[in-house]
Symmetry: none
Subunit: 412 residues, 2 copies
């Protein structure tokens, strides 16, 4: 079945609100093996809604509309749909009772515009909203299904999760799709494409599509194919082959970030970690702490941004600082080694670099970063040359540091 | 002019990536007085791109396309556009030189697929990309403008900000709107609306629109009106009135984040700052360090996530930790006071809280956060009760801590 999303709302078009509804519905349908073919965003405007519906019903079997069902004047979807499907509004007693209860529970007065929320198109099947006052509506027209939902994310999610998706899957016989996504660190899109072009050719013959999804310091690779045993086997074997071929870069499947993967390895080893950060300034620590339960392995950090603190708190030797400068192999090694002791941890990641946009020299340009990993057995330092963008240099250093620790933990 | 956005990418339709490009472009155009009328998201697929272009060129004067310009096989926009506009790909020497430099600077090998990024449609005006390898393309066809941009957000933003928007505004002679945005911390949308309802009435009479733009721990308020001296004067006077009325919440105009505003105050006072963090885990330090030039005032941090480090490195008394628990007024005050000394700074922000989603008790529920600010003269602690979401609790704590320091620096 071809699915189309119509998001209604001026606030989406002028960027006041990011359209997370469309991505949520897209993801939920993809999980069920259904891909959204088109997603359109339009204004809170009668003609825009009618035009979008005309187009959608020509090319799609299912149209999911979000937005425009609130009680205020600018929310007109219900009226437009009632006219479009040549039906009429009638008070739905079950809905009216629930809306009334909703206001009583909150001790609020029920206004006439709230009563109107129980006036619903006669021909529509109602999706009952237990978390708000706007009902969902399910229309059928010439074998096509049109679902209208409120734009408030948790109400929309509630209506689809409890009723909409089940009705939809039951209504259509769906050929499922199968997806797998894997995540890489430290490798660019074109490098990866080059390294796996042989694999890509084989997959293409089996109608398995590859998508490269890059972000700063990271690259996700998605496989999509029919939901057959053969495709699943091929994708699974391909992923195993990639783990063998690119173990330093391929760190895991979707759903787990790099700091979680590292966290799992640390838990497995019953080991703890801390960081001593200069150019990342706490961003590496934050990456651990944002994971719930990271207190099992993450102890803490020293952000020694100034040279004074590198000496006073971390204990980097002042003559080493003077001779080699803060951004050097010698200093980052001392930061990592001393950090292990000061923070009383098994592993310590240390960073020192020139994040930019200024502060670079010919010898030490912006983007130069040293990272050291100190462990119970070895301490190693690595040199990187990133780009000119401060935020991306920091993010790249964070992810690279995590991946270097992962490699050390895995003996790579 | 009617503007339409076409976002290309399977990852957007199946919800792996939220379409922040569309909202950013929508916001930027709205600021310039231009509203996007339609935004469509389609697959990485030749026929989808052609159909979307056919529809868009019928109803819109300007079509901005994002996505599908990377070097890999799934990125096909450039080829499709080259055929659609009946032109041909030719190597652009200027682009080739820059792409080559891009790889040389990073010491990476340039592959044939990278060279192909310099092959561009002959009839297109090139928007030059200084931050990546995919160029922007500007086509004109029957008085309509079609702009194609890479989907990577910072590359897209760079191309529009440095070239695209100016070209567009010039090409269509758009009447400019005047915008001012101010930023609040610690105040909700409805509270603010209540406090300024009198002002809002006055502005409405002068056709100056107000937009509330909330995000976690922050609220932006945007004024939009005609670009006349009277409107500019009214907005300027209104903002001054708001600075007087809400000094604890209103921290500045757009373009400067809260950590920058605090940084400016510290520079003015020739003072330094550091942080001792528990629940924020380095996120507060990161907020300082992400600002270029923050080394003038930011010295460093201790992330004492474990209780052991709160005692060993920060020097919180163990019996105080035991008696009151890590999340307490007593502990956070010691963290801030000791931090001032250990980090040798004038001001220290300390945080301790239960970020969640688990770990709460009846007495100390998830979302409870203590923040202390230690300065040369006074040290104060503040108690907050945020929500259930770990990431939002951390972010709210970071922004609240920065704003408390701002208030202390300003004597509020």
């Amino acid at each position: 079945m071809k699915v189309e999303l119509i998001s209604i709302g001026d606030e989406l078009l002028i960027g006041q609100t990011v359209n997370t509804n469309a991505s949520w519905i897209g993801e939920q349908l993809a999980k069920r093996g259904v891909e959204v073919e088109n997603a359109v965003t339009i204004k809170d405007d009668k003609q825009s809604i009618i035009s979008a519906l005309d187009v959608a019903l020509k090319r799609s079997e299912v149209v999911i509309i979000t937005g425009g069902l609130g009680p205020t004047k600018d929310d007109i979807t219900k009226k437009v749909l009632t006219n479009y499907f040549k039906t009429e509004l009638v008070i739905n007693e079950e809905v009216l009772t629930r809306v009334r209860g909703f206001f009583e529970m909150r001790g609020k007065e029920m206004l006439d515009i709230n009563i109107q929320q129980a006036a619903l198109p006669k021909s529509a099947t109602i999706l009952h909203n237990q978390v708000g006052t706007a009902s969902g509506m399910w229309f059928e027209e010439k074998g096509k299904v049109i679902i209208s939902l409120p734009g408030v994310p948790y109400e929309m999610k509630h209506l689809l999760s409890t009723q909409g998706f089940d009705l939809l899957m039951g209504r259509f016989g769906v050929q499922e799709l199968y997806n797998q996504t894997i995540q890489f660190q430290g490798v660019g899109e074109s490098y990866l494409a080059d390294k796996i072009s042989d694999i890509e050719d084989v997959l293409a013959k089996k109608n398995i599509k590859l998508a490269y999804l890059p972000s700063t310091g990271m690259l996700r690779l998605r496989f999509t194919g029919a939901s057959s045993d053969e495709v699943k086997k091929t994708i699974s074997e391909t992923i195993n082959e990639l783990y063998n071929r690119l173990p330093k870069y391929l760190f895991g499947g979707e759903g787990k970030g790099l700091s979680e993967v590292v966290g799992d390895l640390l838990v497995e080893e019953n080991a703890t970690v801390g960081t001593v950060e200069s150019c990342t300034g706490g961003a590496l620590a934050k990456e651990f702490v944002q994971i719930a339960g990271s207190s099992r392995y993450f102890e803490g950090s020293i952000v020694s941004y100034s040279n004074e603190l590198k000496a006073s708190i971390v204990g980097v030797e002042e003559d080493v600082l003077k001779e080699f400068g803060a951004v050097s192999e010698e200093v980052v090694l001392q930061m990592a080694k001393n950090g292990r002791k000061k923070l009383n941890v098994d592993y310590c990641i240390a960073t020192s670099g020139i994040a930019g946009p200024t502060g670079g020299t010919d010898e030490k340009p912006v983007g130069l970063v040293w990272i050291a990993i100190a462990g119970p057995e070895i301490t190693r330092a690595f040199r990187f040359q990133f780009g000119n963008h401060r935020g991306r240099n920091i993010q790249s250093t964070v992810l690279t540091g995590l991946n270097l620790l992962r490699c050390q933990l895995m003996g790579l």
